[in-house]
């Protein structure tokens, strides 16, 4: 089932985005998330067995693997994995599955900017598809600050390269607070506050999309 939405608001313009769920059979949950030309395929296995060395007595262990389009995962992927893992750990109700593992695997199909955002959105849709209990949903927005000081949301790879700062935020669905923040480049405190406000506004669109896609999916089931 495919859902596509095109949005055109003056303040927070996101590229055309879309998602598809339950497309691969083996993982418990899977999804793709496409933002413009950036595309990520996510698969979730869980709750499943965990190695004794990694098990936690009262919670599930979350593991995230990000496979780049070419080559083996490197240090950059590890840093992104840490961001995705800790965001998922806060969202999932881990205490319901002690001594189990939840594995999220993200495969980069194409990278045209806003990669970490697309990874987080794909992970959230895959966790929803797997039916894992969560206490809130999350979505992610990337803001780029150009050399002239203009703020661009959901930048392409070219826009990212030409920017002087890149800020990625994960927003939660209940209170619209910042769950995760990853930034490169230098910026002032005012620019930070502006980017957070813009990201929170843009997250409304993505949460509405989550709601609509789940509604559409389950309205067909008797």
């Amino acid at each position: 089932m495919r859902t596509m939405m095109e949005l055109d608001q003056s303040c927070s313009v996101l590229r055309e985005y879309g998602s598809e769920q339950s497309l691969i059979s083996k993982p418990d949950g899977s999804s793709t998330f496409v933002q413009g030309d950036t595309s990520i395929l996510a698969g979730v296995y869980g709750p499943a067995e965990v190695k004794v060395s990694k098990e936690i007595y009262d919670r599930a262990t979350v593991e995230v693997l990000i496979q780049p389009k070419m080559g083996l995962p490197g240090v950059r992927e590890r840093a992104r994995e840490q961001c995705v893992r800790e965001t998922c750990e806060a969202a999932l109700l881990l205490t319901l599955h002690p001594r189990s593992s939840v594995t999220v695997i993200l495969q980069v199909i194409h990278d045209d900017g806003s990669l970490l955002s697309c990874c987080l959105n794909a992970a959230c849709m895959a966790l929803m598809d797997a039916g894992l209990p969560m206490n809130h949903l999350f979505c992610s927005v990337t803001c780029a600050i150009s050399k002239e000081g203009q703020i661009i949301t959901d930048p392409t790879a070219r826009q990212e390269k030409e920017s002087r700062a890149l800020l990625t935020f994960a927003i939660d669905s209940v209170e619209r607070n910042v769950l995760m923040s990853s930034t490169t480049g230098s910026f002032s405190v005012q620019e930070l506050q502006q980017c957070i406000a813009i990201s929170q506004k843009a997250s409304e669109q993505i949460f509405q999309f989550y709601r609509d896609s789940v509604k559409r999916r389950y309205s067909k089931i008797k």
Partner: protein, 277 residues
């Protein structure tokens, strides 16, 4: 009796202190642990520094080597940071390839170097497309008691300020590099980024400079890196529970104050080295 309570219910033990606005080691919520800095600790390195924030001990050694510049930037050199968390520093790290925490820390330090424009990589180039310096910055933790990222940023800054590179000329006839060990010049440091780490407890209480125990019990961790012009170089919050805008602003203000304290410390130590010579 307190020791028994601490082992059985560590979270409740910490909460009972936080209710009184203090912490088990006697600090206030907004107090950093005593920070000490030592430079030129490693005689065989081109620059080195050792920092202790409370019990957390981190050492950095800088080695400069010659290589050809990258193809896509022939007028620039390289600066390669690497953070190592050996099994020595804590029982949670096992021997073998670097774990996620070490790799994420290395990526964080590389991002801070680039975001803050700490040094101009153009300065590391000796001759365009032919020869440049590559600075290997090896940061190793000797004792892990929380707040690794702050210590890494400070130790890297101090080691780079301490680093001396020999003069290199290219002999026009033989086309080989000639290194003059006697003539050494320091690196030009543009900015002084300083990090401050915070831990969030129970979604509402923010404590500064968490120890390893506090980190493991916290619900979220945040690191703010500012430079001397009060510009933000990094807001690193890898996940965890959400943080409201005003709490984030409060953390940024604390980070700005910390920047001034650490800059003074680094300058004092560098000056004392010069007068000792």
């Amino acid at each position: 009796m307190a020791a028994g309570f601490k082992t059985a219910e560590p979270l409740e033990y910490h909460r009972s202190f936080l209710k009184e606005n203090c912490r088990p080691d006697g600090r206030e919520l907004g107090e950093f642990r005593p920070t000490t800095l030592n430079i030129s600790s490693i005689a065989t390195a081109d620059g080195s520094a050792l920092v202790k924030i409370g019990n957390t001990t981190v050492i950095c050694g800088i080695k400069a080597e010659l290589t050809t510049p990258p193809n896509d930037a022939p007028n620039k050199g390289y600066i390669v940071p690497n953070v190592d968390l050996p099994p020595l520093c804590s029982s949670r790290f096992r021997p073998g390839p670097p774990g996620e925490q070490a790799q994420a820390a290395s990526q964080f330090i590389a991002d801070v170097i680039e975001s803050s424009h700490l040094i101009n990589t153009e300065e590391l180039c000796i001759e365009k497309a032919k020869l440049c310096w590559v600075l290997y910055c090896d940061i190793m933790c000797l004792d892990y008691d929380g707040n690794l990222l702050d210590a890494c940023v400070v130790v890297l800054l101090a080691a780079l300020k301490n680093a001396q590179l020999p003069q290199v000329t290219i002999n026009k006839e033989t086309d080989l590099a000639e290194v003059d060990i006697q003539k050494k010049r320091p690196l030009k440091i543009n900015r002084h980024p300083v990090g401050s780490s915070f831990a969030v407890f129970d979604d509402s209480i923010i404590i500064v400079d968490p120890t390893a125990e506090e980190e493991s019990l916290s619900t979220a961790l945040l690191t703010v890196v500012t430079d001397e012009d009060d510009r933000l170089c990094a807001i690193h919050k890898p996940g965890g529970t959400s943080l409201s805008g005003e709490k984030l602003q409060h953390c940024i203000n604390r980070a700005i104050t910390r920047n001034k304290e650490i800059s003074k410390l680094v300058d004092k130590v560098i000056k004392s080295m010069k007068t000792a010579k």
